[in-house]
């Protein structure tokens, strides 16, 4: 464990969040291999079982995208562009390789750009299917087998079932701790702010899972022992979107007089709520989790039953969050050029309204330059909720 991790949990979180990648850099100096990846659909268990620290590549809303435009089109999702820009600017110089899942067009169609521009010793695309039927499941398992073999070849060591099971166990503990953390948000006022949770989860995907587990424990303990009760705010908000790896937007909502008490985001509930089942062949459980359990717009679910059932199948988890966390309103926060979520908006909005929560849909560009405009919209939305 790092020395810092034994300090106060939230202080450590703040440090890891502000100096994103600092722990990975330290570990690299100690001889540990750091494997970069994009998106919640990368099976981190396999990377960890191979002996690497999985490291989530993040962007930076405060950093104008400059270098990336020389190699990557501006029509790509701004988050992906920002991640690539940070990588080009040397922020992730400690990476030994990169793993990219076929999550969406912006991620997968830029694979050649990532692979050949960064020129890291290792690169691999996991070509995961969009469908969840049995042939897709078996195909995905075969892809994971290819990935496992590829990483084994790279390290020169076989990835055993035992090491996979150990990694699965650690990540399942990690997810259980996050669920416990989310439980602290159900109180009114919540025991922990949305901004604090977001910072913790972002920090957690940049350090080894064992350290993340300890860090989450420390934060939970610290929060439970807080002497100051969080301020009462009239409105409880849920944020839904793709990957939000910066707290600026969550902070904006909380700064406008509301608590963010729930989310369907990455890093966030979408990424941390589903476990890997313990299966005889560990790849089966991993495949089930990533292909079928994570509810994301990039995965196509076949319509069974009537349309209302279909909406429940796709968005029912959002409805359950609204109920369980006492959510007063939902903000759909979608980046420009996001195909998996952009096409969801009318259906998702209609579902959320049908369970009684007002919805604000915001399209953004992953940049601090839009914060002023967003603030006005958020304030108007909170007023609308307050007037009801």
């Amino acid at each position: 464990m790092s020395a810092e991790n034994s300090m106060g949990g939230l202080v450590t979180v703040e440090r890891y969040y502000q100096k994103y990648g600092s722990r990975a850099r330290e570990l690299k100096k100690q001889g540990k291999g750091i494997m970069g990846y994009l998106c919640a659909f990368t099976p981190v268990e396999i990377i960890a079982a191979a002996g690497f620290v999985p490291f989530r590549i993040k962007g930076d809303v405060n950093e104008p995208i400059t270098k990336a435009d020389t190699e990557m089109e501006t029509i790509v999702c701004p988050l992906v562009r920002s991640c690539f820009d940070m990588a080009l600017k040397g922020k992730y110089e400690f990476l030994e390789g990169i793993v990219i899942p076929h999550a969406c067009d912006s991620i997968s169609t830029t694979y050649s750009v990532w692979k050949n521009t960064l020129n890291l010793p290792y690169a691999h695309l996991i070509n995961m299917p969009h469908s969840t039927d049995e042939p897709s499941f078996n195909f995905y398992k075969a892809l994971l087998g290819t990935f496992r073999a590829s990483l084994s070849k790279f390290t020169g060591n076989e990835i055993s079932d035992q090491s996979l099971n150990q990694a699965i166990s650690l990540y399942n503990q990690n997810r259980a701790k996050v669920r416990e953390l989310y439980g602290l948000r159900k109180a009114s006022p919540p025991l922990i702010s949305g901004t604090e949770v977001a910072k913790l989860l972002i920090a957690a995907v940049s350090i080894p899972v064992e350290e993340a587990n300890q860090l989450i424990d420390n934060v939970i303990e610290e929060v439970k022992q807080r002497k100051t009760v969080p301020a009462a705010k009239p409105t409880r908000i849920m944020v839904v979107g793709a990957q939000v790896d910066d707290v600026a937007f969550i902070d904006l909502i909380e700064d406008s007089g509301a608590w963010v008490v729930a989310d369907d985001l990455c890093p966030g509930a979408r990424e941390f709520f589903a476990d890997v089942d313990v299966t005889k062949n560990p790849i089966d459980g991993i495949a089930e989790r990533y292909l079928r359990k994570i509810k994301c717009g990039r995965t196509f679910r076949e319509k069974k039953g009537d349309y209302e059932d279909y909406l429940e199948e796709r968005f029912g988890h959002i409805g359950r969050f609204i109920k369980d966390f006492g959510v007063d309103g939902v903000v759909l926060y979608i980046y420009k050029y996001c195909d998996p979520y952009g096409f969801e908006v009318p259906a998702m909005k209609s579902y959320i309204e049908s369970v009684g929560a007002p919805v604000l849909y915001l399209e953004d560009e992953y940049s601090m330059s839009t914060i002023g405009r967003l603030r006005t919209r958020i304030q108007a939305f909170l007023e609308l909720i307050g007037s009801k």
Binding site: T70, E73, H102, S112, S131, F139, F154, Y337
Partner: protein, 445 residues
Amino acid sequence: MTEEKKPEERKPRKHATEAAGKIGPMVKAALKENLRAKEEGKPIAYAFIFSGYDEIIRAMDIVPAWTENYAGICGVKRDAQRFLERAEGENFSRSLCTYALCGLGFDSWREETGEMPPNPPWGGQARPTVMLGSGQIICDPRYKWYQAVQHYMPDVPVFVGGLPYPPYEDDYDYRDVQDYYVKYIVEELRGLVAFLEKHTDRKMDWDRLSEVIDISDRTWNMISEAYDLRKAVPCPMGTGDAMNTMVPMTFMMGTQEAYDFFKDLYDELKLKIANKEGVIPDEKYRLLWGGGLPSWFALTDFNYFNSKGAVFPAEVTYRLVEPVYNLDLPRVSDPLEHLAWRWVKYWTYRSDKARKRPGSNPDVERLIEYIEEYKIDGVVMHEAFSCRSWHPGLIWQLNQLKRVYRDIPSLILESDIVDISSYNEADTRSRIDAFIETLEAVKGR
């Protein structure tokens, strides 16, 4: 009111080949056929081009409605804006695929009123019986668009089958994984047949499917042989025309009509070559359309290039075939397996070549191959803002081309496929002028 807006009247684009001139009436006839099929109660399938299922639809006598095509027609007719605006009004971001937005605007309009939107381009698009998506390594709208349409037509079933191909990797060869790719695709195509049999009154006639595949294989070969003739100097047919002749390649594959069309094109090009008849009389620059879908509302830009002495003997876009006899396909008895192998081998066709050139990849290798075989002086690409399927990676391909091959003049135009508000004709043409000057300077060296 947007409903009352009349599309801009424009003169048809000038074609170099008679074949390209036949396309407009063919598309019109196909759309009429769809509307007639609807009246007659025949099953209609919303479908995407290049999704591996053309032959299945044809063999089952299901009428395809190519929704990208209809959006493209709206673009060509400069009558897409009212549908884009309607989709935007439904909370679909204007940054999404504008084919999809145009279709969503059209469908939501038709569903709300129970009839075609007023004055729909070429009669409009009929309500489908089923919608056939596709889960590929590219193009999110292929599984998201029809799912989104279901919000307005919840009773119309959607099928999304996986159709992947092995990515080009350094750490393994595609042959290491091709068997499980083929197995998966076959299972998904079999699932599609079962879906169509369940949701329409049609049954698969497997002998008929083999016949249809035989026609499409021969069409793949005929297209390749016809397009190869464009290597001639002067070039007898340019990319402007190829953006018309893509119609039988993408919307009519598996029909005798498509084969005959390309046989006629082959004969026409042979004759033009014999007569030394080029797209333009004084051919100064030979350009490669190196990537990106065209701006359907601005195809006359190709004529503008022609007016500057430039022709496009080749394009990457919509050259969706290779000679089947070059693909090293295994002999298989299952027609679905043949389709799967053809798909995988098409996508991995230049992998071996790329491996011989460090830093290259199949996309870059294709550019190099066309540059050499078609005697290319410069590369033009188009970055359509709304499409993340075909357009990300173009800048890198050009950069890599220069790194691993040679420096060659290049131009990336920026606009869209359907959304005319993204287009500025004066600006586009001044960029073309500047590019022509560069070509001239390079040639003069």
